[in-house]
Symmetry: C2
């Protein structure tokens, strides 16, 4: 089917004609003057940042490849830039950190329009700026297809970072938002109008709105930075991770690193009602989306039972859905799901990039 987004990747002069240094100058203009934390931005051999005393530095990177992590058919260049920043901001959120600055390695086909790199850059800045993070540097090379690798530097009070290790038996397991929507969004990118019409009938919304909403779950994730900061500032969480590979697989990392067992309750899992209807139409168990590979960039975390009310208050204060979904128990490291009928299933999987 035709895509309304492909045209955003075409037209105008190419980056090859502009050249590497012309493109760097153009990006520097878009970035503007450096912020207080940034001593030296793009244009030198490296960027310079100042980290205040008493804070640790948080470093993370995530590479996005055309055709593997995103398709020009279903995302605009600005969305690709914003998403490349957001997946890293989400790692900072999972540590409870404050973003400071990002670097970007760009691999660009020389025929790529300059308008595309302009939009990519705008997307990076649009995702970074609201959190006070600068685009501090990077490097550019020619490539067969688009590569966007963002490194994010953030800061967190020394010794206070949220880690995957730290969950203890008796803790409550929480998740923000409605995991699984990104997987459903990815699965339905190429869905035809008939599907959306049938879904619209079931849930009483316009087909175009539904299509747009599910695409955005995949194309325009949101990093839960405010939640991460709340958890650090209130010492509310014992362990945390962002759901970049899928809730089940990511909680398995927490279980592994903490040396605990996590029991999820099916009845407690937040399942978006539209996801249930969509699953019925496609013959997919919505739990496969909720627990399986899905890059929602929600926060999954554990908290001592005494902090549970504080966590629920956080959800209200931030206008953020936060659901208790299970508990931490002693036992072999792993995750299991207690079904409504009392039976238990081991939860495995999540996304493996090499398989």
């Amino acid at each position: 089917m035709t895509s309304p987004f492909e045209s955003s990747w075409r037209g105008g002069p190419s980056v090859g004609a502009l050249g590497e240094f012309g493109l760097i100058a153009r990006i520097r203009e878009r970035i503007g003057p450096p912020s207080a934390a940034l001593v030296l931005g793009p244009g030198d051999d490296a960027a310079l940042l100042s980290v205040p005393a008493g804070w640790d530095l948080v470093l993370t990177c995530d590479i996005q490849l055309e055709g593997r992590h995103f398709s020009p058919r279903w995302m605009t260049p600005k969305e690709v830039g914003a998403r490349a920043a957001t997946v890293n901001l989400s790692d900072a959120a999972a540590m409870g950190a404050v973003p400071v600055a990002a670097l970007v390695s760009l691999g660009l086909p020389p025929s790529l329009p300059v308008a595309v790199t302009d939009a990519l850059c705008d997307g990076l800045l649009a995702a970074l700026a609201p959190h006070g993070a600068a685009l501090a540097g990077g490097n550019i090379t020619a490539a067969e297809s688009l590569i966007v690798d963002v490194t994010l530097a953030a800061r967190v009070e020394a010794g206070r970072a949220l880690r995957r290790a730290g969950a203890r038996a008796g803790d409550v397991v929480f998740v923000t938002g409605y995991p699984g929507c990104a997987a459903a969004g990815l699965a339905t990118l190429e869905a035809d109008d008939a599907l959306w019409a049938r879904l619209a009938e079931r849930v009483g919304r316009a087909p175009g709105d539904l299509r747009a909403r599910f695409r955005l779950h995949h194309a325009a994730p949101v990093a839960r930075l405010a939640a991460g900061r709340f958890l650090v500032e209130n010492e509310a969480a014992s362990a945390a991770i962002d759901t970049s590979d899928g809730l089940g697989g990511d909680l398995a990392h927490v279980a592994e690193e903490s040396g605990v067992r996590i029991e999820l309750r099916e009845a407690y899992l937040p399942v978006d009602p539209t996801l249930i209807e969509l699953g019925a139409l496609l013959g997919t168990d919505p739990l496969a989306w909720v627990l399986g590979a899905s890059d929602d960039y929600e926060l999954a975390f554990t908290a001592p039972r005494a902090k549970a009310d504080l966590v629920l208050a956080m959800g209200e204060a931030l206008r953020l859905p936060v659901a208790p979904i299970g508990e931490v128990v002693a036992g072999a490291a792993g995750v299991e799901l207690r079904r409504a009928d009392g039976t238990s299933l081991p939860v495995t999987g999540g996304w493996d990039h090499l398989r």
Copy 2:
């Protein structure tokens, strides 16, 4: 012609069979326990570093693509890993910084042998460890061909970093080592035995040694970290850059950022004697290698005339060739070469990744 290096990329089980998380566990084992500056290494959502008070953080990244920055025909996996770290260490050297920790984004064909990622990892660690830098994290994805993107964090005394801006009229221009050898090494990777035999006759060395030496200039560069630190600790340099794109083009960046003109003297340029003989055999002006696109990762820097003796003493102390190659003058930003015959040539070029 056949390559003795290609076999180092073949054999044994693949990373696809091992899976992403098996591979991450394997890399963590190779890395060992974290150093003092590293609060938290690989295995969480991000790495945690502590930056001492009074130091700025230096951040740089550089992406290396198979077929574009390196060829499996002429480099071993360990060399690719070491070089990916070294090109970033060289940026730290150009800022006068002390390396702290690196992240690596790996794009891996699922069929790639695990032995190759083992060797890549060993190369990264072999390049980082002597400078006290840890491998602190990263991410892994599947890709069509090998991608290695390293981000390096380093530290430098606040306000003391060497920058491209800062050169002033009257300063002396210096360069370490013998730039151009990497370009000659790249140009002769596929050269046949006859060339090396003829060169050997001219310079009185064994053909195999010459071939190996020029390949290493391309495949195994060295970052001039000790020189960068000497220049910062002794406040000896007014501006600095590493010669990653070529001496002429990189000095043009210094001229541009400093708003000065740089006059190089042909008679002063350090030209490796073997490079002159090789140029004669290939019909190449060796100056094209010395000034043009060549990724030697030497340091080019400017210093006030009063510091010139200190700079030459640095060369002796570090057993490092350091040559004064020209001077900084007032005038339109740019670089020119004064030939032995008294004429002048504008120096342009250097490597543009998009052209």
